[in-house]
Symmetry: C2
Subunit: 326 residues, 2 copies
DNA sequence: ATGAAAGCGCTAACAC
DNA sequence: GTGTTAGCGCTTTCAT
C-alpha cells in the first residue's frame, strides 16, 4: 500500500496525499482532506519512512554506542536516551562496543550507512577519530571524553571532584587508612577519579601509598579481588571505590571475611546505580545523574542536528548520597 | 559522495560500481575492480543503506520491544539479541514499552514505518493484536506468550515447571510453611509460576493458603513489601519468589528484620539475573538462559524473515542453581 | 486547490 | 565485461 494507491482511490494526485499526510494542507479543501484521511484510515496505510528519508535526508533515528547494556550504569544511560529520543520523535539503534575500538569503528560505519541523524558515543579510548573525520556526523560524547576535532558535544561529570568528595567524606568519618579500588587508566574518568582520591589524601596530610591502590577494571570482580589483595598487606579502615560495581564486589569480599561494614571498614562507591540501595549494607556513594545525562545527551545532539548549537561541553553535578556503608 | 560520483571518477557506470561493491563481480575485469575499489577507499565512500533499502525492501534492522532495559532481566535479553543480530549483519532498534499497550502499539507502528525486517516483542498483555494484523511483519514473541494469529515465533520457558521445581526444592530442604511472592496475573508467566507453586504444595500434601501469597509486580519493592505483609500474620520458613528482583527485596526485608537466611527462612528466586550471585546471601534460584533466549529469538526471527521457517514455539530449559539462600 | 514531474541513491534486468 | 534504464515510494517546486 503506497501513497500512490491511496491517491488513486481518492481521485487525487499523490502530491496531494503527501501534503495532507504531512500537515502541509493549508491549501487543500476540507472535503478532499477528509476523503483522503478516511481512505488512509480504512486501508490501514503505513507510510514508508525509508522512501521519505531518501528524499528528505533525515531518518529520525539516532545511534548510541555504549560498552555494554548489561552494565547497570549503561542501561540507565540507555534508558534516559531512549526516553528522551522517543519524546522528541526519534528512534534509537543500540550498539554494544565492549570497550573495543574495533567494534566501535564498525558500528560507526554501519550507523553512517544507515544514515542516522546523529550518534551518541560512550567512547572506549582515544580511538575512533579516524572513522569520524570523514563525514560530518553530529555527535555527542557521553560520560567519557576523548579528543576529537569538529562539532562534538560533550556531557560529562566532574570525576575528580566526585572522587575527592568521596575520599574526603571517608576522612571526615574518621578513616586513617584509605584504600582505592578502581579501573586502570585506559578510561579517562578513572584517571580523574584517582587524582581526586589522591588530592583528598594530600590535603589532609595523609600519605599516598601505592600499595593501597588496586586498579583493574570497572567490574564487581575487581572490587572483590581488590579487597582480597589490599587487605593482605594493609589494615584499611576505608575504601573509596571507582564505581558502585566495584563497591558491591568489595562489600561481598568484606562480608565473606566477616569484616563489619561500616564499623571496621567503611566503603564508598561512585555512580549510584539502581541496585546500590539494595545491597547490604546499602551503599553510600557519589551519585551521577545517569538517566539525566542520557536525556541531556539527546537534547544536545538534536540541537546540533538542527543546527541550533555547535558542540559545547556540559558538566553535570555529582552529589553524595549517604546510606549505611560509611 | 555517491556511487555515481565514484563511477565518474573511475570512468565506469554506476551499475559497475554497484556490482563491485556488492560482490557481484564475476564478470568484472580485475583491472576495473581494483581501480574502483581504490577510489572507493581513497574517497572514503560510505554507501547509502537507505537508498539500498528502498530498492531491495530490506533494511537489515530489527526492532525489539521490551518493558524496560534498566531491568536486569531485559538488559541481558537485549544484549543477547544485539550480539546475535550484529553477528548476523543486523542492527537493532531498541524500544521500552513500560508494559504499556499504548507504547507498544506506537512502537510497532514506528518500526513498521521504518521498515524493520522483523520485530522481537516481549508483550505486556493480550494486547497488540490490532496493530499487527495489518502488515505481515515477521515477529517473534519472547519470554511472554500471547495470543496472536499469523506466523509468529515464540521463545519461552516452562514457567510452571520452574516454579514447581523451586517450591519442591524448598520442601526438600525441610520447609513446612512456604510463602509465594510474585507479580499479579496480568503477565501470563506469573500465573504459570503461581500454578507451579501450588502444584508443588498440593503434591506434598501441603495446604495452599492464600494468606501466604502476595502478588503485586516483578520489582524489588514487591519483595520487600511482600515479606513485611506476609510475616505479619504467618510464620514462614520458606519463600518462593516470582523472580530474582522480588527475592532481592525479600532478602533485604529479612535482613532488616534480623531474620537469618537460610537458617530461619529460606528464599528462592527465579531468573538468575547477573546480580543474584552477589547479594548476601547469594541467591539460590531457577535459572533461565536469558542471554541465550535473546540469541534464539533473533535466530528464529531471521529464519522467518528469510522464509526458512514459519512461526514455531521453542521452549528452553530452566535449571536450579544452588547458592546459599536455601 | 490540485497536479505533473523531477529526483533522492541505489539495484537489477537486460542490452550490447 | 560493461552500460542503459527503469523504478523503489516519497517530497517538493512550479504550473495551472
Amino acid at each position: 500500500m503506497t501513497i500512490k494507491e491511496i491517491a488513486e482511490m481518492a481521485n487525487v494526485s499523490s502530491a496531494t496525499v503527501s501534503k495532507i499526510l504531512n500537515g502541509k494542507d493549508q491549501y487543500i479543501s476540507e472535503a478532499t482532506r477528509q476523503r483522503v484521511l478516511e481512505i488512509v484510515e480504512r486501508e490501514g496505510y503505513i507510510s514508508n519512512a525509508i522512501a521519505k528519508s531518501l528524499k528528505t535526508k533525515s531518518t529520525s533515528t539516532l545511534g548510541i554506542i555504549i560498552p555494554d547494556v548489561m552494565n547497570l550504569f549503561f542501561s540507565e544511560l540507555a534508558r534516559g536516551i531512549e526516553d528522551a529520543a522517543e519524546g522528541m520523535g526519534y528512534s534509537v539503534i543500540l550498539c554494544n562496543s565492549d570497550n573495543k575500538t574495533s567494534k566501535e569503528e564498525k558500528y560507526i560505519q554501519v550507523l553512517q550507512e544507515k544514515m542516522v541523524d546523529g550518534i551518541i558515543l560512550t567512547a572506549s579510548e582515544q580511538s575512533v577519530s579516524n572513522s569520524l573525520k570523514r563525514r560530518n556526523m553530529p555527535m555527542v560524547l557521553l560520560d567519557r571524553d576523548i579528543l576529537i576535532e569538529g562539532n562534538v558535544g560533550r556531557i560529562v561529570v566532574d570525576n575528580k571532584k566526585g572522587a575527592y568528595d568521596a575520599t574526603k567524606y571517608l576522612i571526615e568519618k574518621g578513616c586513617n587508612n584509605i584504600g582505592f579500588i578502581s579501573s586502570d587508566n585506559v578510561v579517562k574518568s578513572s584517571g580523574e577519579r584517582l587524582k581526586g582520591y589522591k588530592q583528598a589524601l594530600t590535603e589532609s596530610n595523609m600519605e599516598v601509598d601505592e600499595n593501597k591502590i588496586y586498579l583493574h577494571n570497572y567490574s564487581i570482580d575487581t572490587g572483590y579481588e581488590g579487597v582480597k589483595k589490599l587487605l593482605e598487606n594493609n589494615k584499611l579502615d576505608g575504601i573509596s571505590c571507582g564505581n558502585d560495581l566495584i563497591a558491591i564486589g568489595a562489600i561481598k569480599a568484606l562480608n565473606e571475611m566477616k569484616i563489619k561494614i561500616p564499623e571496621e571498614v567503611k566503603v564508598i562507591g561512585f555512580d549510584d546505580i539502581q541496585i546500590s540501595q539494595y545491597v547490604e549494607p546499602p551503599l553510600t556513594t557519589i551519585k551521577q545523574p545517569i538517566y539525566e545525562m542520557g536525556e541531556e545527551a539527546v537534547k544536545m545532539l538534536i540541537s546540533i542536528i538542527e543546527n541550533k548549537s555547535v558542540g559545547e561541553t556540559k558538566v553535570l553535578k555529582t552529589t553524595l548520597v549517604e546510606r549505611r556503608s560509611c
